[in-house]
């Protein structure tokens, strides 16, 4: 059984299709990344998966419970960290956690134990009786994550959890996501941070213009853009980019500071050419590196294509 099963999920607003028949599954215990540019349908998807809005077509099943037919059972299984900060600022950190625990029907003793443990884990225990109004953005986000975990959810939805946070909070939250995943929690993560997605996610779906344009493991996605592989070389002497453009099967040469980046279809052949070129011209190579395409490169390619069918050219 998948932790999350999405089938032909569709949502329209005033005749505009925000999410268009998307389908995918997230395995139990997986960290699944959901990426897309602003307005691509990411937030609408997560709102449908968490039962905030109803889809016009299709269905979402969470741990075997259909979000439309059995919303309460499905919601009981999840924890949610929405994109914007939404703890009750009038309440203390402790009372926010107690409130969430009660809403999820967590017994009093258990929710008190959980609250103590979470506040310590997230570095908020000393401020447990302070109103959330006085918390920094990072502290609020940590509190919201505590609130999402008070019911020990099987599936955790995180909508841009580290957006705009300081390095310390970001690192703490990412470490805790890894720990949660180790303990078997399924994590559904939307983020703009490609590095974060690359480091945390076992699989990634990229949504663009309401449709999923790619879904796979990060390393497999990167291979979709083999044409973006490049070699970066730095010589002790000044060498003009045009001198390297003449190599066979070189697509483009870019000057980047004191380095030259050469985009080529045959990376091995290009390295041989560079070494031969250096020897022939009495040049000394200071550094020579192969550069793999980043997830960001893939994201930009997939989300900037005008028509989905042009994506096939990448494969």
């Amino acid at each position: 059984m998948n932790a999350i099963e999405v089938l032909a999920l569709t949502k329209r607003f005033n005749g505009l299709t925000a999410v268009d028949h998307i389908s995918f599954g997230v395995e139990v215990g997986e960290v699944f990344g959901f990426l897309g540019p602003n307005g691509s349908g990411k937030s609408t998807t997560i709102k449908m998966l968490t039962g905030v809005i109803r889809p016009d077509e299709g269905k979402a099943v969470i741990m075997g419970h259909d979000m439309q037919r059995e919303p309460l059972k499905a919601k009981q299984m999840i924890g949610v960290v929405p994109e914007t900060s939404n703890a009750y600022i009038e309440l203390s950190a402790w009372n926010n956690l107690m409130l969430m625990g009660e809403l999820y029907g967590v017994p009093k003793k258990r929710r008190e134990e959980q609250a103590e443990r979470l506040l310590k884990q997230f570095g908020l225990h000393e401020r447990r009786d302070s109103h959330a109004r006085g918390f920094s953005k990072g502290m609020k986000q940590r509190l919201i994550l505590c609130m999402a975990l008070i019911n020990e959810p099987s599936v955790l939805f995180l909508d841009e959890p580290t957006s705009g946070l300081d390095v310390e909070s970001t690192r703490l939250i990412n470490d805790i996501i890894r720990d949660l995943n180790k303990s078997g929690t399924t994590v559904f993560l939307t983020t703009h941070d490609m590095m974060e997605a690359n480091q945390l996610c076992e699989r990634i779906a990229i949504i663009n213009r309401s449709k999923i344009v790619a879904i796979d493991r990060p390393e497999v996605l990167k291979r979709m853009a083999s044409g973006l592989q490049s070699v970066e070389v730095s010589f002790q002497q000044v060498v003009k980019a045009e001198a390297l453009s003449a190599f066979a099967r070189v697509r483009q040469v870019e000057k980047r500071g004191d380095r030259l980046r050469i985009y080529a279809e045959d990376v091995d052949g290009t390295i041989d050419c560079i070494i031969s070129f250096a020897n022939a011209n009495g040049l000394k190579i200071l550094s020579l590196n192969t550069i793999a395409p980043s997830l960001e490169d893939i994201f930009v390619i997939l989300t900037q294509k005008e028509r989905p069918e042009t994506n096939h050219a990448l494969a």
């Binding site: 607003f13 309460l72 009981q76 939404n86 703890a87 009750y88 600022i89 009038e90 309440l91 029907g105």
Partner: protein, 249 residues
Amino acid sequence: MPWHEQIGRSLVVAKKDVWIYYLKGPVIIFGLIFPLFLLIAFTIGRNISARELFPGVMGMAIFFTSTAVGPAILPWEARSRTLERLVCSPVSVWALFLGDVLASFFFGLLISLAPLIVLLELGVEIQNILVFGVGMILATFCFASLSILLSVYPPTDVPATVMMLSSLVRFPLVFISGVFLPVEELPPWGRAISSVSPLTYFIDLARYSITGTSYYSISLDLAVLLFFAIAFLLVSIKLHERFLPQRLS
């Protein structure tokens, strides 16, 4: 999930509302300060006894206090983005709004005890405590349900807009409900208009509990209040369900 568990979660929502909304500015203004001044204006300078004032004072107190909290909650939750968190928790929409109704109900009941105690201290004797007690509870619940209905439209996140629009409904209701003039003294068209206001039936009950006489029968007063309470609650839940996606978008 059993319904009694959802009732329990309604009480959690109500507790949250008590913690957060009872001390909000608009609630204090519309639920305490404003009715207080209205009651002062209603009582001072009139050459009538506390006994005669009792139905109108209690009617206005219960009506204004129990409709003060409800309209503020939803726009506030939408603005602070806490509504989304509530909606994705395992609480039914009906339980969520029942919780808000209960918070309004408790506020109305609690604050209305103050003028009741004052009037009793002034020598007013309630002849039929049971009728008055049941009527007060029913009327408070009915007006609390009405207050949640008043926050349905527009689906805004500006509390002041909802409070202002709800006042447009609340004030005319007070004027047509026999607060200032007993129903039997109204012209036929006035009686017809006042019969559509639930407040009319509570004031009639309050008058009966003091004087032993009423315009409508007591069973009719209670039945109409019960009908309005259920109708307001069901209609507000249905309409909120319909407009919730707009509020969350």
